[in-house]
């Protein structure tokens, strides 16, 4: 059966192994005899990219992959890493843990990459991270759930996205800075609800403001009149609407109907431009939105703009820029392209007292001279805690005016 099925292929099959043998022998011979630079060009250094190209993250994933490629192109134009050309191997995580795990297995077991960059959804990162630390592969992510950096990842994970704790603290600082004395927080029932409320309450108190009440509401309700009544009984100057677009839309309507005249504050994913289109202007007037922002004042941001050829790279594009730079610099510093090498050296190139650099190429040049560097990224300072969280980042605050977002400040 076997022979009949493959009979037609016989000549081809006999030729194939011979050709492969010759190729391998050639590579071995070259490897043994040729100078280092020739060997380098023969075996590129492969780095893994695992962004969602489809699914809910399908808008951000391709742009992140592009931003990483742009950095790697610059690195290659500058002679590559450890004398080798760098190649990004891009897999689609599909915003789906199961698909992402399969793709990660391929990158780890078949391609044998030292680093995987780009997981987006928290569920995907939670699923992929154990594969990475078990195989000593370095992972960089934008997922925000607090639980991610608390995984026992042994240092094989960093994230450039602020976690809930950092976000809640920063939001509360901003709210207090507006002179708000009494804040109320309405959160949708979600894992981030309670930690966000607790952290915001702490920081408001530190800053001389006060959280006068919090509540967690059920999703998928057609009205939140009673919840709004509960909030208004505490007479707040500002209500923080910590939910998603469908429920925050209803809350904004119900607050308007109840003639609430105080400030309203929400995440930018809850009050999107589509939400503004779906509501009358008088309902959304004055709403303040917040989102993690790229560090628009950083020289690294200017370089990212030029490199990508876009006027305003967003938070995701700049974070991807920083991953490709951090991983490249850590490999150069470690002088070896392994996950453990990156883990042990990443904090040596992005924090501490070295010369500040704003791009991978700039850093590689100084490292080659044996100097210490401190990479400052386009997304922020890129300083990490022991568990891999960023220490600080910028936020962009917008105010809705006449149905449009107007920039208040980046801080």
């Amino acid at each position: 059966m076997h022979e009949i099925d493959n009979g037609g292929d016989m000549p081809h099959r006999t030729r194939e192994p011979r050709r492969r043998f010759l190729k391998r022998a050639g590579v071995l011979a070259l490897g043994g005899m040729a100078p280092a630079i020739v060997r380098a060009q023969g075996t590129p250094l492969q780095l893994g990219v695992l962004t969602p190209l489809t699914g809910a993250g399908g808008f951000d994933g391709p742009r992140m992959a592009k931003a990483m490629q742009a950095v790697i192109d610059e690195v290659n134009a500058n002679g590559g890493l450890l004398g080798r050309k760098v190649v990004l191997v891009v897999e689609d995580g599909q915003t789906n843990p199961e698909a992402a795990v399969r793709a990660a297995r391929k990158l780890i077991d078949v391609t044998k990459v030292p680093a995987i960059m780009g997981t987006w959804a928290s569920a995907v990162t939670s699923a992929v991270a154990p594969l990475c630390w078990e195989s000593r592969t370095f992972l960089t992510t934008v997922s925000g759930a607090d639980s991610i950096t608390r995984l026992p990842h042994q240092g094989y994970l960093i994230r450039t996205q602020p976690n809930n704790h950092l976000q809640a603290g920063k939001h509360a600082e901003f709210i207090a800075s507006m002179g708000v004395a009494r804040c109320f927080m309405m959160s949708i029932q979600a894992p981030f609800a309670e930690p966000t409320q607790t952290r915001a309450t702490e920081v408001l108190k530190e800053k001389g403001s006060q959280m006068v009440g919090t509540l967690i509401y059920d999703k998928d309700k057609t009205t939140y009149r009673s919840e709004v009544d509960q909030a208004l009984r505490t007479n707040p100057d500002l209500i923080y609407l910590n939910g998603y677009a469908p429920d925050v839309t209803i809350l904004l309507r119900d607050l308007y109907r109840a003639s609430y005249a105080g400030k309203r504050f929400a995440q930018s994913y809850a009050v999107t431009s589509k939400v503004l289109e779906s509501l009358p202007h008088e309902v959304t007037e004055g709403v303040i939105t917040v989102q993690p922002s790229a560090d628009v004042t950083s020289p690294a941001y200017e370089l990212a703009k030029k490199r990508l050829g876009i006027a305003e790279p967003d938070s995701y594009e700049t974070q991807a820029t920083d991953w490709a730079s951090l991983v490249s610099l850590a490999i150069a510093k470690a002088k070896i392209a392994t996950g453990t090498g990156i883990r042990d050296n990443v904090r040596n190139i992005c924090q501490g007292g070295g010369t500040k650099v704003y791009s991978a190429v700039e850093g590689l040049k100084l490292l080659a001279q044996g100097r210490d560097i401190n990479y400052e990224g386009a997304s922020g300072p890129c300083d990490f805690t022991d568990i891999g969280d960023i220490v600080d980042c910028k936020f962009r605050y917008n105010k809705v005016t006449d149905g449009k977002f107007v920039l208040l400040k980046v801080a």
Binding site: D220, T222, S226, I250, L279, V283
Partner: protein, 290 residues
């Protein structure tokens, strides 16, 4: 300690929420009474009604009442077509098969809406009015309008069932299909009428929900469990029961806020189902259609 005004406000909110819930709940229970299966496709028909009303109101610029009528007619017509082409074939296989087919149908229809209109939130072109304050109680003009529309729709349905030949025939089929057949009532025609009316009410309910919130392809799906709870509490198959069930669920979910955090609101609706069915397995009013 909550004040009397707080309790009064919660009661008012509960009645408002319950009345809107009652409209699709009547649709669900009417279809169950005649065709004897829980038609979960009600969810997508509520969405279709909400979007039909949206097209009439926001795209064609029609005022509220003609838009609401459009929601009823379009959802009702789609209901007749989907039942004739899809669900009718499943009915001989039993009510569980048909109910599961109705879930498949609702997901398919919801995706048709998503394909045509996309995923984003949409709002009707109606001004949002500030609430009236009557003493310490807050009442929304839009919700009073919704209450009136729901009230008129229910009164019209009761009139139809009580006084028209077709309505009486529908009740006859619901009470005793075999006897109705012997008397020469055409079950197919009655099936179409009940689908038109039932799904029309679902569409109307979907639009009423949308008037208070915003609409997207999941509008109906988000409410279907509460609608089902209302119909079961009142007595699946009993039309006045659906109204009483909806008010029980609506008021119960609001009054629970006196003792519980708002995130347990949905749980109360379903605890009500368990309680009522434990005490009265056939629901508050039993299963007699009218």
């Amino acid at each position: 300690m909550p004040s009397l005004a707080d309790v009064g406000q919660l009661l008012v909110n509960g009645v408002m929420a319950g009345t809107i819930l009652a409209v699709p709940a009547i649709g669900l229970t009417a279809i169950y009474a005649v065709l004897r299966f829980p038609n979960f496709a009600l969810a997508s028909h509520a969405t279709i009604g909400a979007f039909a009303g949206y097209v009439a109101n926001a795209r064609l610029g029609w005022p509220l009442l003609p838009s609401v009528a459009t929601a009823f007619v379009v959802a009702g017509s789609v209901g007749v077509v989907t039942d004739d082409t899809v669900l009718k074939r499943f009915r001989p296989a039993g009510y569980i098969t048909t109910a599961i087919a109705s879930i498949a149908l609702t997901i398919a229809l919801e995706n048709v809406v998503r394909f045509v209109f996309g995923n984003e939130l949409r709002g009707y072109e109606l001004p949002i009015q500030r609430d009236w304050r009557i003493g310490a109680i807050r009442v929304g003009p839009q919700q009073v309008t919704n209450l009136a529309i729901a009230g008129v729709a229910m009164a019209a349905l009761f009139g139809f069932l009580g006084f028209t030949r077709m309505g009486k025939a529908m009740r006859a089929v619901a009470d005793n299909p075999m006897l109705a057949a012997i008397k020469g009532i055409d079950a197919d025609t009655i099936g179409r009428i009940v689908n038109f009316v039932g799904m029309g009410l679902a569409g109307l309910g979907g639009m009423l929900i949308g008037l208070d919130t915003t609409i997207d392809p999941l509008t109906g799906f988000r409410s279907i469990l509460s609608v089902f709870a209302a119909a079961v509490v009142g007595g699946l198959g009993s039309i006045p029961g659906a109204v009483i069930g909806a008010l029980t669920v609506g008021i119960g979910e609001e009054l629970c806020l006196l003792f519980l955090s708002p995130d347990y609101r949905s749980a109360v609706g379903f605890a009500a189902i368990l309680l009522v069915l434990t005490l009265r397995p056939r629901g508050i009013l039993g299963q007699r259609a009218y």
